[in-house]
Amino acid sequence: MVQFFLESDRIAEFVAHLKGHKPVFAPHLKGDKSYAFSLVEDPAGVVLDYNRTMHSVKKYFMPPREKLLTFDLTENSCEGGQVEPVNAIFLGVHSYDLAAVHRLDHNFAEGQAEKNYLTRRQGAVFIGVSYEPDQYHFSGSVGIDPQDTRGFDIFLTKLLDGYVLEVLTPEGEKLMQGLDLPAHETGKPARGHFQQHIYVPQTKLNTVMAAGYDNEIWEQTAKKCVGCGTCNVVCPTCYCFNVEENVDISATKGDRQRSWDGCMLRDFSAVAGGEVFREGLADRQRHRVFRKFKYLSDTTGKPWCVGCGRCTAYCTADISIVSIVNHLVADYEKTVVAPI
């Protein structure tokens, strides 16, 4: 594996070099303390040392709103929405966010493969960056290290005065052509420590969840929860969507769009006639948490939560997914007699 040293002073040069290949999307400061992925115009605006972006790179492969078809009401006809490959470089992606993209890949490729997502996904190159876990990150508990290079084309690991740059795929090699960086001879620094942990090995999470279906934590959480759906919207592995019609002001044409939806919202499970199949907030909280740690994990063997901490960091009611899971773990352990 080839390793280079990217000095802090040369980051802008590196970004400018990347821009010569493909459009580059990277984290930028938004307001005083938030970060967001956006198209790089000025290389100096790129921030590689950040805690988390409010939304993950999911928004580029499954946009918050997307046209599924356009229709003509005079003709009563329709045609499919046009989708283009994203074909871009994603710079400064944290390991949990790429892990989330891989889970989305599974969702949209499994069963009936979906053209919209899989087309957009084409041509995406990922350059990862290590991060220092803050009070919300817990991806170590779901098997994703801050320096996890799996799936990246290039990975940057932070040193005091720059980054160790590892080239991991032929696509990564292509991007490095024409950029002269010194080789990095010494090792990589130790990874940062997590402040948040789920207190059970991830292989046991399914069992803990199954035992916690009727736990009182769901009602306790429901007392605080306001059902706003923020946790769904910021989650990098939530992919549920709603479909809506938009009619043009001429009332002769329009389009059908899908938009991000959330299982924490009451109408999510409503059917015509008024029946709501997941009425209580406790039921909805359980559904959300079970989707991350049980339902999809049972079939794929992987937790669907990647430990980014967004749902907790942005929760309007101060609900922590780690606390919920640890409550279940603690109650589960009470029921298990420890072997001597």
Partner: protein
């Protein structure tokens, strides 16, 4: 390591899952105040190719899309039927449609009824209210392949005699010596001469060859628990029970998440479930 999405073009020729085909309404029969039966024909008379118990997504541009059970049997060729209750915006608009109007259709979706599991057995259909719409697909399939099945027993419950669906066919079922048809209404009008009471009252009096009877149940959410109790106290083995469930199947292709019951997607693994597979799912029944 390789990047499997490295190609910058869209090389994979994938079908657009969300694009409907335009089908024509060829007949409309008003069944009750709220329910109407629409006969629909795909372009060039193409077959829908469905199984009993499956559903389609019906589109009306500018209004939206919603899932509807297919009410006709696959043995009916060239066209298919949708029995639709006027209950929301889409169905309200649809109730004003005329013959010749076109609808967008996607599907068929869902697993449908595995008719092989019913072949050679006595078939018991338990349908509550609008639950008869999907069950009629199975009933007519059995009638059209009569010798493949044992007895055909139909238990149908409706809120009132004014809300009975497919009344012409109900009469045929009553007259057909090879169909055991039982009906009850919750509240009968003065003209009603039949049984009064909820659907569960029909089950205890049935004379069933229990090990050889397979049932499919469909009705409003509240009905399942009580019908199950009645079937179990009758002694019907759990493994002989199938049920068709309703949820909000928005995309029909296992992507949008709306129809999920615990771990299962109704649009993929359902809407027809084998009772032993879902009896432990608290969100199901």
């Amino acid at each position: 390591m390789t990047n499997q999405f490295s190609s910058d073009t869209a090389p994979i020729e994938l079908k657009d899952l969300y694009l409907p085909v335009m089908a024509e309404i060829t007949d409309i029969k008003k069944m009750t105040e709220l329910e109407t039966l629409y006969t629909v024909q795909l372009p060039d008379g193409a077959e829908l190719g469905h199984k009993p118990g499956q559903f389609v997504e019906v589109s009306m541009f500018g209004i939206g899309e919603a899932p509807f059970s297919i009410s006709s049997s696959p043995t009916q060729r060239g066209v298919f039927e949708l029995g639709i209750r006027k209950v929301g915006m889409l169905t309200d608009v649809m109730s004003r449609y005329q013959v010749g109007h076109k609808l967008g259709i996607r599907g068929p979706f869902g697993n449908g009824i595995d008719v092989e599991k019913f072949k050679g057995k006595d078939v018991l259909i338990v349908a509550g209210g609008i639950g008869l719409v999907p069950m009629r697909s199975m009933i007519n399939y059995v009638i059209d392949n009569r010798d493949d099945f044992g007895r055909l027993i139909i238990c149908y419950g409706s809120r009132s005699d004014k809300e009975l669906l497919f009344v012409d066919e109900l009469k045929q079922w009553t007259d057909d010596p090879r169909i055991e048809y039982h009906v009850t209404v919750d509240h009968g009008s003065p003209e009603w001469t039949g049984k009064t009471g909820v659907i569960t009252t029909l089950i205890p009096t049935l004379d069933l060859d229990l090990p050889n009877t397979v049932t499919c149940v469909c009705g409003p959410p509240v009905m399942y628990r009580f019908v199950l109790l009645a079937l179990k106290s009758k002694g019907l083995p759990e493994g002989n029970i199938y049920m068709s469930l309703e949820r909000r199947m928005k995309c029909g292709v296992g992507k949008c998440g709306h129809c999920q019951i615990n771990h299962t997607y109704v649009c993929q693994d359902g809407p027809v479930y084998h009772y032993p597979d879902i009896k432990a799912l608290q969100e199901a029944l």
